[in-house]
Symmetry: C2
Subunit: 422 residues, 2 copies
């Protein structure tokens, strides 16, 4: 095996420039929701060159709409294809899905970027650009791992199914579409940006909106009104209390080092119409973490009950209860045993390849892992070279060295998992 | 005098329908900022019919811009004329300005109005429509008072200067323009909607905007960020403390019955861009009351110092201080002695006419009174028939009976103030 390890390392080293160029081209093809076709064609072309069996299809909105796990702001996906490439095994081995998303979040305020947000420029070993860390770098790690195995003529018994999906940032419609199309395997990896940590568990996440009512009045006689902003402050405190209670109950060692394992974040606030009027309506929007082993419905019920209790704190809420809506994106939680064979393989190969113990934690955010593990029944682990803190932010970057190290770990894991014949 | 009182009462009673129709036509001519010409032409026509010396001019933006008290979102007023009508006295008497604004605030959400917002419909003695109470009803009270005096052939020694101005709702540019044009008098009345209370003092008011900074982070790792919403809650509490301290210092008996004499209202809140991100910027906008005898600059300084002290409560504010801006509209405070002769005249005539003691208070909001009193050196009292609580709100209305009663009080006050010869 050591020879194979050396060969893989050598191949990756020899193809450092090529792999870097591939990632650069991917980054330079912006792929915000609705605009993924360009980047996907680069992926499909690469898979074709590699001689994999390539499947390109646009997710079917009608089929998805009928599925209870469908979640997206849109209902049709023309021009937004998924791309799958299969490296067929020789038979008798375990299969592996390598799943990553091609879609990126908007680049935001250009003023905050030092270079063009889609530059792909490399400085001091770091490549910059929206999506490089979340998660085109991870997609390239997958492709490098597969290509190394191929070019070194290593035969795997089990199939390797590479998936470049759309819609992860919007709630998983791309991955759901792969399940509906029938893609299945014995395990899956997702190379979201984990800072090379290994996440056998991922929290779920749901977006909520709360409307807080007040009563209008002239600002000069504000005591005749009820400020929806002041009431919102009570709502915010109430939600903090809920977050504290929920997180006190988390005793999973994988969350030991996480300050707040399943946070409730309020991300948007908006209300009132006129400086001289008491605001009579305030809206807040946020995301609520769902523990890896928790049901979404139970989490929703806890939020709902928490808000109902506002009436005990302030009779205004009995008169004018807040309105709670679950909207937009949601990500199912996912969880596999920390001793699952997939974990054993990955952890072992990480140790061998990197030369130190991997950090094993639970994910601080949602991924498509929950869909694969819980709905697809495909045990999934999240592990990737991207920089967790830079995902979604200006000057997003990735360390190229990590892209290749992750490729090495993944290649070796494939060898072990898919039971190589060599 | 009793004969004259009877005559005036009789005249007003005889012209109830005519006066009601005039007000209805005025209400049915929407006059939001920029669109006042239609309503003003109704006023000008009426003044011409009454044989007053009529002056119609558009405020001069260049002239206004050069004046330190100019305050408006716009700099030119084409199509937005002021209208003045002068009833010349016979000489040797005191003059009076009767000032009211033609502009109205937007009608807001039509769904909240039972009838069309500009219907002018009369039900059970109440006329409905945007502007009827704030303050076209008051303008009609003035016109009725003047016409009664004229038609009864009562000669006044002093001039009566009726002014229908634009821009009161935006900060006083219309009234400022009358001052720059040279209109001056020994006293002034403004028929803003006081519920027939008499306001010898009016608070000032200024709009402020505060930007509160945070630090962005992914919502799933919110502890890595700093929520601008949470910091805004500290700012709101800080401002509450300032409001409490400022109002504790108000010992003016005219504010005895007012729960919060000079309130600080936060009317608008807005911040954050994404439910899954910690908000890094929140903006709040509001209005700050200025006591009748307070300088605007002193009030501004108190707010500024209050916000600087945030750093003592939370070191974040030392690192990222909030940004305070004074923007948009402002109204100067105004104040005359409660024993001023104008007050004596008005209070006396109120007693005689209404048959009870008037309620004398300080205004809960800003008006053009501060401009007239403090800048024009024209002692001004605010008194009018409109319904204070309905100003700026859906289903705004006025009681027609009060329009005519106010006209009676004003006519009798004019007789006393302008030293009638009869």
């Amino acid at each position: 095996m050591q020879t194979i390890v050396n060969d893989i390392q050598a191949w990756l080293k020899d193809h450092f420039e090529e792999g870097t160029l591939l990632l650069q081209r991917l980054v330079q093809a912006p792929s915000i929701a609705g605009n993924e076709a360009g980047a996907q064609s680069i992926i499909a072309k690469k898979l074709n060159e590699m001689g994999l069996k390539v499947d390109v299809w646009e997710p079917d909105g009608n089929e998805l709409k009928a599925n209870e796990y469908f979640c997206s702001p849109r209902e049709q996906f023309t021009g937004s294809p998924n791309v799958v490439g299969v490296l067929a095994g020789t038979g008798g081995g375990r299969s592996m899905i390598l799943n990553g998303h091609i879609d990126v979040v908007p680049e935001g305020d250009h003023e905050q970027w030092s270079d063009d947000p889609y530059s792909g420029v490399v400085k001091d070993g770091k490549m910059y650009g929206r999506g490089v860390t979340d998660m085109k770098g991870g997609l390239v790690s997958f492709l490098l791992a597969i290509e190394a195995i191929q070019k070194l003529d290593i035969k795997l018994k089990g199939d390797v199914i590479f998936q470049s999906v759309v819609e992860e940032e919007s709630g998983g419609a791309g991955t759901l579409s792969t399940l509906l199309k029938g893609y299945k395997a014995d395990a899956a990896l997702i190379t979201e940006p984990t800072n090379m940590r290994i996440f056998p568990k991922q929290q779920g996440s749901m977006w909520f909106r709360i409307l807080v009512k007040g009563r209008s009045a002239h600002g000069g006689t504000r005591y005749e009104g009820v400020s929806a902003l002041e009431k919102t402050m009570l709502v915010v405190n109430q939600i903090r209390g809920l977050e504290i209670r929920r997180n006190e109950q988390i005793d999973d060692p994988l969350y030991e080092k996480t300050p707040i394992p399943i946070p409730i974040n309020i991300g948007v606030v908006s209300g009132g119409t006129w400086p001289s009027s008491v605001p009579d309506l305030v809206k807040i929007e946020g995301r609520m973490g769902v523990a890896p082993n928790e049901k979404m419905e139970d989490a929703k019920r806890e939020m709902s009950q928490c808000l109902q209790q506002l009436a005990e704190i302030d009779p205004w809420f009995a008169e004018q209860p807040v309105v709670l809506e679950w909207f937009g994106a949601q990500w199912l939680p996912g969880s596999i045993d920390i001793e699952h064979e997939l974990m054993n393989s990955l952890v072992h190969q990480y140790r061998e390849s990197v030369g130190e113990e991997p950090v094993i934690e639970a994910a601080p955010w949602g991924t498509d892992g929950g869909l694969l593990t819980e709905i697809g029944k495909i045990p999934t682990v999240v592990f990737g070279p991207g920089v967790t803190e830079m995902a979604h932010y200006p000057n997003e970057y990735i360390e190229m060295e990590k892209v290749f190290k992750a490729a090495e770990v993944i290649a070796l894991t494939l060898l072990q998992w898919c039971n190589s014949q060599n």
